[in-house]
Every structure is written in structure tokens, then in C-alpha cells.
Symmetry: C2
Subunit: 374 residues, 2 copies
Amino acid sequence: MLQPPPARVGMSESEIDTPALLIDLDAFEANLDLMAGLMAQHGTKLRAHAKTHKSPVIAHRQIARGAVGQCVQKVAEAEILAWGGVQDILISNEVVGADKIARLVALTKICRIAVCVDDAGQVDALGATAAAAGAELRVLVEIDVGAGRCGVSPGPAAVELAQRIEAHQHLRFGGLQAYHGGAQHLRSFAERQAAIGGAIDATRRTIEQLRQVGLSCEIVGGAGTGSFDIEATSGVFTEIQAGSYVFMDADYARNFDQSGAPVSRFQHALFVLGTVMSAAQPGVAVLDVGHKAASVDSGYPTVWQRPGVTYVGASDEHGSLKIAEGVASPAIGDKLRLVPGHCDPTVDRYDWYVGVRGGRVECLWPVAARGGMF
Amino acid sequence: MLQPPPARVGMSESEIDTPALLIDLDAFEANLDLMAGLMAQHGTKLRAHAKTHKSPVIAHRQIARGAVGQCVQKVAEAEILAWGGVQDILISNEVVGADKIARLVALTKICRIAVCVDDAGQVDALGATAAAAGAELRVLVEIDVGAGRCGVSPGPAAVELAQRIEAHQHLRFGGLQAYHGGAQHLRSFAERQAAIGGAIDATRRTIEQLRQVGLSCEIVGGAGTGSFDIEATSGVFTEIQAGSYVFMDADYARNFDQSGAPVSRFQHALFVLGTVMSAAQPGVAVLDVGHKAASVDSGYPTVWQRPGVTYVGASDEHGSLKIAEGVASPAIGDKLRLVPGHCDPTVDRYDWYVGVRGGRVECLWPVAARGGMF
């Protein structure tokens, strides 16, 4: 059952029912503009990652500012974007299973779509389904540039897979996927630069080996919010796949920039709004935001602009706030904004975004691609 | 948008699309029967907690075996159960805010419902709304018996609140809520017994003080899957609120019973089914089950009946499996069952349960009360 939205357009922020997922529209638009400007400056294309926002509305805001399209992580997200009018989608991931591949190939009829592989058998499975549907599918080779997750090794293994793609009449080799997820949250810029430097070298080497067998890369994609400046100025990557920059979660804000200061150029634009539901014990207040309303996989949410009030514990439907000595405790009924520790899985818990500006609700957008389905 | 179910009734388990939330129906029914038998033996009533399963279908299975009704943690869950025909519901939690209280009071017209308070102002807010609706609402006083979260202190503070409830013409004092959440996952039985012993003493003392002012407790509720035998045999608690026993997650299975052995009388009945989507690097396989398909707040999921295969890392849509030396790696396309670390927030990520028995899909049930809304 779809949940009713927790707000109506026009009401004040204090009237929003909680827990609710807020977008601060001024901060959100500033983030969109800043990234568009950086991409123009670096001469690189943005293919923003929709696994963060799961919303065709937000995808179109990014594309209107110059993004070439969207990345997604699974077929279910690609479907929602394609059905919402997004025309150029890359599944930056492997897709396994006959049903999922059939759904993927069906999307070639309504948008430009590409997918990644790291296995010869999967190339053949994609090729057979594309042939049966009379479709042409673009396929990228994913290389493991340090994350130790998906992807073949850079170099000959990637070349071999690319040639296998090209050998299928209904597949077309589309380039390389080279995302280093493990580097995004290395705290110092120097650590991230070292890790991404290795990824760039491995990717450059693989591109050169592909060229030697006559294969060129239309897309060389990768990078996230933690590292994108490095890939964007490498001369190797053609598409930047940052996603979290639109919302900027608490964990990305724990990274340090080149000057050694906490990263601050993107603003926190995503908040979970909670209500204090209990304040019966001294020094403690309890908020209606627990595991089912905010993810804790990258740490607890932080309390926005309430010095001395700290989120210290979560259970299913409760968040415990510790109130520092000498600080006034929030009262029952008070509404507090939290900055999620990790925006992507927090967004995934909600059916609705509530867009606020100047203290009022300006819009409601569905979190259209929410949910566990692949 | 509601997700389509990942299976059809009658198909084999190997055909289920992934990630999917499976109920092993034999194990599930054995858990239901075992708990019903234990309650009969202890002479205590079960008011099973629906924050675990969020399903009227499962609620009715519990009630058919003797449960007096259901607990929920929020109004949105109470609504879904009431709309699904559950007749006796306790919100074992505080409800704050005019809209939520209005929705709560509206439910008095279609079911027996009760709610908890730990604040005088909230008693008055409930009383005013019940009066305006011409409704009678049962209200329990929540006491803090050790969890340090919600609840007034046992003793005089609770008596004062109970008297305030009784003073409202449209409210009726319904008893005490005395849940010790912090005790549920203390690993040894002795630790749990000590913690719950304190909760029982505090509750008994409060009941006696209430009796001295002429107030009796229709409900004395509390207990969870980790501790319920202790409350059930205390002579103090009248209703047991265990929830997780229906599914038995990996974290509860890390508790030890009275004999010092891992708790094993309830069976794992809830699984996340995943597909291996990458096996490009030696010693590693990648499953399509990450943060968006299984919660990690109580540890990673465990891999079911695959010795030497361990879930060691999660990202948004990926779970990394480590393959021990000498163990055959699962192949791309292989489907594996995982036991969730924590069942409640894992269930909350899905729209559908897939009930399986003997390797076939027997039923599809909606996770009807899913989602962040309170």
C-alpha cells in the first residue's frame, strides 16, 4: 500500500507529519548548479547516479543542467527512469537472470540503455536475449580498479570480454566502467588521490590495449562524490557518476578536502524531520526516527543546528537524543531536522520527498524507484 | 509505486526473482505453534508485536492460535491492522501530534485500541481529542524499567499519570507498559534474568501503589523474544509482546539459553533470497543483496547452509561474500538464502512476502504496513 504523503503543498514546515524526508530546495538547487559548473570547468560530462535519489523528477533537473543521462544500479531503477522520460541510462552494474535481462532488453525500445558485464557467460546471455528481441544493446566492461567487488581485472581480461561483446551481432561494446567505491570515503584528499591515481592508471592502460585491437570506448565511466575532481581532470574518464552530491550526507561531510578542511562546497539538502515523542527522563529525548526512518550503516544521523543535542541510539521506531548539560531539552512535540548518515538507503525507506523552501512546502515528489526489487 | 511481486504462486523457489523476502512456511508455523504452547503452559496471554511482520495475514495466524491481539509501534501500523480486521490493538508507544492523535481516536470506532503515555500534557491532548470525537480511549502508562528510553519512573510518577488519565471522562486507565528493550539481546540467560528481575520488581511495586489508590491494571504488558519466559512466569505480567519469534533473526540466535547453549527452539523462518551477480575475483562472490535489501544494524546477514561462505561487506545494492579456501565458489546465477541480522527493519524494505514450502511458492502476502510513516 502506497503511503499517503506526510504534507500538503503550501503548509508550513512545522505542520509536516513525521518522520518525513525533506529536500531543502535552495540547498538542493545550489548543489545541482555547483556540480554543473564544475563539470563545465573540467570539460567532463555528468551521468549522475540515480541510486541516490530514485526520482525521474530529480533526474530531469540534473539533465536540464547538462547531465548526459543517468546511472542506475538495477533494472527496476532503469524502468522507473525510462517510464518517467529519461532517455539515456547506464546500468553501472551486472544484471543476472533471464527475467531481468528480458526486462533490460525491453527498455531498448524506449530509451538508450547500456549495461555492464564482468563475465563471458553473461555476455552470451545478453547477446541471446537481445537477438531474440531484435534489439541492439550497448555493453560496457566493468574493471576492478581497487574496490575488490565486481569487475574483471584491468588489461587483457577486459580486452577479451570486449571482443566477445563485439562478436555478438546484437551487442555493441560501449566502453569501460571503472568505479572505485572504496576510495570515496577515504578521509584525506591525499588518500583518495592515491587510490584514484591507481584506478586512472589501470583504466588508461586498458583503454590503450583496447585501442590496439581496434576497440574504442564511447564511455569511460566512474567516480563518486568523494573523488570526482580527480577522475574529471584525468583526461581518461569521459563520464562522472557522482550521485550523493545532490543531497550531501553526514558521512561524505566527514571527508577532508585538498586544504585539509572538512568538505563543505556541497550543502546538506536532505533531512529527516522527526518529532520528539518522549522526554520523560532527564538528559534524554526520544525522537520518532529509528531504523525504519534513517539508515545507520554509515553512522547515526546528526542533529541539524541544535548544539548539544546528539543522536546516540536507534531502535526500530525510536531515536535517542542525548542532551548535553546546560542545554535546554527539546520539548515533546518539537520537530528536529536530522542529516542522514547515508542518504541512499535513507531515501529508500520513504515513498515521498517533501520539498521545502523558506519554511513552506513547495512540492511533493514520489521516491518512485524505492524498494528492494532489482 | 507498489513493486510487482517477485514470484508467482506455484513456481519453484529457484525461479523466484531476487532480492526477495521468503517465509519458510513450515518453520514459521512451527514457531507460531511453539509460542502458543509456551503461553498456554505459562498461563499468560500473547499480544504479539506486529512491528516485526507488519501484516494482517500474519496477525490473524497468531490470533487463531490464541493471541489476544496485536501490539504495534505507531498509528500507521495500527491502521493497517485495523483495516485488515484485527480487533484488539495496543500501540505500545507514545503518539504525539494532533493529526496522529486524531487518526488514533478514529480507530476506536472500528476496533479496541489502546495507547501509551509518559507525559501529563499528552494525557490531556488524548483526552481532548477523544472528547471531541465522543470516543473512549484506553491509555496505559509506560514505565521505564531499565531501557532508558521512553516511560516515566516506576512508582509515584506512574500513579500520578494514571490518576490524570482516570480524571478524563473520555479516557480509561488501561494498565502498565513495562518493556525492557535493552535486556533482549544480553547474551547470557543470567544477564537477562537479572535485568528482567529488576523490571518485574519495579512493575510489581507500581501495580501495588496503583492498587492503593483504587486503580487496577487490565493490561501489564512487556517482554520480547529474548526474555519472555521470565516475564511470563513472573505472576506480574499479563501480556507478552514478543514479535521476532515468528521469524527468528541472526541476532536473536546469538543469545544463549538457560543451559548455556545458543537459543535454538525457534527456527529461522525468514530469509532474503539473493542471486550471485559477479564472481570475477578469486575468493569473492557478489550477491544482489546490499543495504537496500537487508538491514545491517544488528550485524550482517548470515549465509544459510553454505559452510565456508560468509557475508563480509555491504554497499547499496551489493553484498560481498568471502569464500573460504578449498570451498567451491558459488557460480553466477546461483541463488542463496540469507538469514537477516535483524528481521524488523529488513522486512520493512519489501512490499511482498513470498511464502515457500517444499521448494515451491505457496503464497504471496503484502508487507502491508511497510514504510517510514508513523
